[in-house]
Amino acid sequence: MSALLPPGFATLEPFAMRWAGETAADRAHLRAAYPDAERDAFHAACAPRLEAGLAHLDETPLAALDEAQQRLMRLLLTFAHVSLAVEVQGPDEAQHAPLRASMRITRTPADR
């Protein structure tokens, strides 16, 4: 199987298909789209790789990222949302999700 992510991010490969949301709204939705255990597994794998991932991507202008790098970028952006579920809301995340559903993300610089 060929790699979906840049070399050096093998531990994130199992999450690359599911968790690389296209738009900010998609990524906010992914935060609560799967069972807690799956979300927690993604969080556990990604948290220790966040800084290395951003450092790798920062070496290339955003417009010049290749497909694998773009996927890594989107994966890390989804992690921004997932980290709030795990690190901030914790046990309250299940009751927090329906409150967020009414807050429609309509634009971000990343989406343009």
Partner: protein, 402 residues
């Protein structure tokens, strides 16, 4: 050297005694008749924030805004000459809505019905077989609406003779001009609809009494042992507008790693753009009637609560940024900072709707505001003064006609 900060002192009742202590009548928060008065006395006579100049980068750039309280669709256009103008989105031939797109760029605007065509300054430039008409082209320009810009923020006024925007903003105008929003080139945005009165919705965001109960996890350093409710350190009153200087707990445990990373990146970006983290960075600007802006350059957001009916509103929150995302780290920081703000606003929205259900039942004659809810009291008093003045004006007009 001893560097500990003095213990928190809440603003005292003495400082705000001039605003009174009476209970506030409940019906203005649900009664359609009161809403109708507010619509005419407040919203149709105030400068209302509807956009930002970064949405109109080029000559011919336009945005369309649906303004429910005026029952109007408004086209805001940057002309060939660079000036920003606003018009009713209504063809002057027989009234057809001219533009359906939310935003775009065009050198002219043509009505699909009979092809009357208008320039970016609103003038009618061509109309098929115009000789058959009994009117001059110069009398067929799009109906203009007053527009003003301060700190990059675009405001509209439907007043007959609006005072200049800068006079309306008073001493806050220069302070707003010094904030990052004045230089913003892009933004993140999220929008909510809510079954709640616009004042009930807006008030939630100008009192901190609820923080520890509604934001127990997302509230972070907003509360602390010597300020358990996270009350502000200062309130400012500027005509109908108001400010608060927020307090933060310097001894709070550090936020999670992605938050530290994001705030660090945002601070770096602010410094790169020469933005000082000034005193105003801790200030919330509340512009009458329905606009907020947080001065912080790290999470520099505005929040507008648009009234739709007595018990329905729409909130628009924007985090303003200078420059496009210039790196993966900056993109991450912007996504994270937006998501944290959205989490908090989601918690607020839920409890506000619950408050509306209680109020709309009519069970209460009054609601009660404490000293640290003084900004809510100030809003109500400002609105009610405008409503009473409007009623008096109508009554004297009726007398004069009698």
């Amino acid at each position: 050297m001893n560097t500990h900060t003095p213990p928190f002192q809440p603003v005292s009742q003495d400082d705000v005694a001039w605003l009174g202590t009476d209970p506030i009548p409940a019906s203005p928060y649900y009664d359609p008749a009161y809403f109708e008065l507010e619509r005419k006395a407040v919203f149709l006579r105030s400068w209302i924030q509807v956009g930002h100049v970064c949405e109109l980068p080029d000559p011919g750039s336009f945005i369309r805004r649906e303004i429910e309280f005026a029952n109007a669709s408004i086209l805001i256009v940057r002309g060939k000459d660079g000036a920003i103008r606003a018009f009713h989105n209504v063809c002057t031939h027989r009234g057809t809505q001219l533009v359906m797109a939310e935003a775009g760029r065009q050198s002219t605007f043509s009505c699909p019905y009979h092809m009357w065509t208008f320039a970016t300054d609103g003038a009618l430039v061509s109309a098929p077989d115009f000789d058959q008409f009994h009117v001059a082209k110069k009398d067929c320009a799009l109906p203009a609406v007053a527009v003003g810009v301060c700190a990059g923020l675009i405001f509209l006024s439907f007043a007959e003779r609006p005072e200049p925007l800068r006079d309306w903003l008073g001493d806050l105008a220069d302070r707003l001009e010094a904030l990052p929003v004045a230089r913003a080139t892009t933004f993140s945005e999220y929008v909510y609809e809510i079954d709640a009165n616009w004042k009930l919705t807006y008030d939630n965001f100008q009192e901190n009494y609820h923080l520890r109960f509604i934001h127990p996890r997302s509230g972070g350093a907003a509360t602390g042992p010597d300020n358990p409710f996270g009350y502000p350190v200062h309130y400012g009153f500027h005509g109908p507008h108001r400010t608060q200087t927020i307090w933060s707990n310097r001894a709070a445990p550090p936020p999670p790693a992605p938050a530290l990373l994001s705030y660090g990146k945002a601070a770096e970006a602010a410094a790169a753009h020469g933005i000082m983290v000034s005193q105003d960075a801790k200030d919330y600007f509340a512009l009458f009637p329905n606009f907020f802006l947080l001065g912080s350059p790290l999470q520099h957001f505005s929040h507008v609560v648009m009234p739709i009916s007595a018990t329905r509103s729409r909130g628009v929150i924007r985090l303003y940024w200078i420059g496009e995302d210039d790196s993966a780290s900056e993109r991450f920081a912007r996504e994270y900072l937006m998501a944290t703000a959205r989490d908090i606003h989601s918690e607020d929205r839920g409890v506000i709707e619950r408050g509306q259900r209680g109020l709309s039942s009519g069970a209460l004659q009054h609601i009660h505001l404490q000293t640290q809810e003084i900004l809510c009291r100030h809003l109500f008093r400002s609105v009610d003064a405008a409503v009473e003045a409007y009623k008096a004006e109508m009554a004297s007009g009726a007398e004069a006609r009698a």
